[in-house]
Symmetry: C2
Subunit: 315 residues, 2 copies
């Protein structure tokens, strides 16, 4: 069932002991450059370096330790893997994380650091799904989907709850949109707590499934495997996230690759904080659409800060 | 005269409207790795991206607008240039900043962005000093020394005041040490407000003048022009900073180049904040001397976050 206000509140209470209420930062320079008042909700400072800790904890804590004695499993090359691993470690249940064998060693090390067992597979969606299916069958582990799951959506929505409770009367909240968990959760938080706040999902042109889905009113897949520096936004929406987004999200804005890198660099240089490319997409969208946001109060959820420092896109 | 507690308090009150009371951050991971409780005072989030804004504002505000109608001048390739420029802009007086013509374009742009006039010179200390002397003579501008000046020292000491007022009973405060303004100012703050807190200056092995000066009891110059990735720490102490440091600083700890880069990387990866190499020196010193700091409450002043993103030392 689509999370209600009560579901969101319960999710927040459930995960609060395990997550950070991350700071909201502002920058005079960036406000002056963009001619808007921007409030950055810093989920790059969240545990595991990304908002996904919220959904991971909510999913596992909602299921409860007793139902998870056989463990949990997930396939992810990125932040969801760490989120499930840290939540499983906290509950004291086994985690089996399927990662493509091309996943950076540093990400594998982070997952292993939370005590999870890593199962490497070929870097295709088919291989990932079949490997996870095998683990579900053999170990009896429960699969935790990265976004198309109401407990994940409710968990991700708690970042917007905190932002809306800290900054009143935001005109907009901008989020990056990949699978749609953060966007869907944020849109529900705004609907219940601040109905005048419009939610806008922000997406790379090179992975524009959410844009085409919202425009057409039906779920669209990628035409071909997307390639974007915003590698956290490669997935397409699911039916649950799309259902919520269709009803509650005002628009999807697109940005190109150089806009993403430029926005990322501006935040690094001016705010001295580390954000990953996917995380720069909403600020890039704001800069591209300055007229739309001029004079407005805009919340931006900085989704994460997990980057490979040896492979940065700066010149 | 060496700043008294009252001088420090007055400096703080004077600059407070123009600077940030920067946040103090902690990291569970870093505490566990270092087996100490570390409180990072984030001057990388300070205006101009470094603590030097404190000294710059205090120096100019102490002199007062009426004495500065002919303007101020300074030579610096780095943070002091921006500090003097922003303070001059705030007071509405001219700033003439002498920079070596090899200074990165991004730093020149930042100084120009504060409305200062940039005078480029050959990249030698002699050229810098003679160019500044000429400006003093021709324009009647007042020279603002980057560290060997009591109003600068008092300004820099306000970061430690804030840290000591936020975190009680620190066993240590660690600072990077170049010209010694931050270390001297911090040592006075601790002496007056928290006498049991030991101040430790941290220095690259390749620019170890403060280490040799404190050990020998007399001011030592560099044997040859130092080369270190911590390029904010190339200068030697001055007589005013050394006088204070000799009386109030417990020790100087040295670190090598790879320790600096490793410490910098750890803070970037785990705390998602950007610090410059000089700024990583105290944390590197703590990691190198784990036994000394084991179980202690340690404040570290993160001095700045101005790096050239196109030239990072990571692999």
């Amino acid at each position: 069932m689509v999370p209600t206000l009560q579901t969101l509140r319960e999710a927040h209470d459930r995960i609060r002991p395990y997550i950070h209420n991350t700071p909201v930062l502002t920058s005079t320079y960036i406000n002056s450059l963009s001619e808007a008042s921007i409030y950055f909700k810093c989920e790059n400072f969240q545990r595991i370096g990304a908002f996904k800790a919220r959904g991971g904890f909510n999913a596992l804590l909602s299921l409860g330790k007793d139902r998870l004695t056989q463990g949990v499993t997930a396939h992810s090359s990125g932040n969801h893997a760490q989120a499930v691993a840290v939540a499983a470690q906290t509950l004291g249940v086994p985690a089996y994380i399927v990662m493509p064998k091309t996943a950076p060693k540093v990400k594998q090390a982070a997952v292993a650091g939370y005590g999870a067992e890593i199962i490497l597979c070929e870097p295709t969606l088919e291989a990932r799904e079949s490997t996870v299916a095998q683990i579900v069958e053999e170990k009896g582990a429960i699969l935790i989907h990265p976004f198309n799951d109401y407990s994940i959506i409710a968990g991700q929505g708690t970042a917007a709850i905190e932002l809306l409770e800290e900054v009143y009367q935001l005109d907009y909240i901008l989020t990056p949109i990949g699978g749609g968990g953060l966007t869907a959760g944020s849109s529900l938080a705004a609907k219940y707590l601040s109905p005048t706040t419009k939610i806008v999902g922000c997406e790379p042109e090179k992975a524009d499934d959410a844009y085409r889905s919202l425009r057409s009113g039906e779920l669209k897949a990628h035409k071909s495997p997307p390639k974007t520096t915003a590698d956290g936004l490669l997935t397409t929406l699911g039916d649950k996230t799309f259902g919520i987004i269709k009803d509650n999200v005002g628009d999807i804005l697109l940005v190109n690759e150089s806009e993403i890198i430029q926005a990322m660099r501006l935040i690094w240089e001016r705010m001295k904080i580390i954000i990953e490319p996917s995380c720069a997409v909403p600020f890039a969208a704001l800069l591209r659409n300055k007229d739309l946001f001029k004079g407005k109060k805009v919340g931006i959820i900085l989704s994460g800060g997990n980057v490979d420092l040896g492979k940065l896109p700066f010149e």
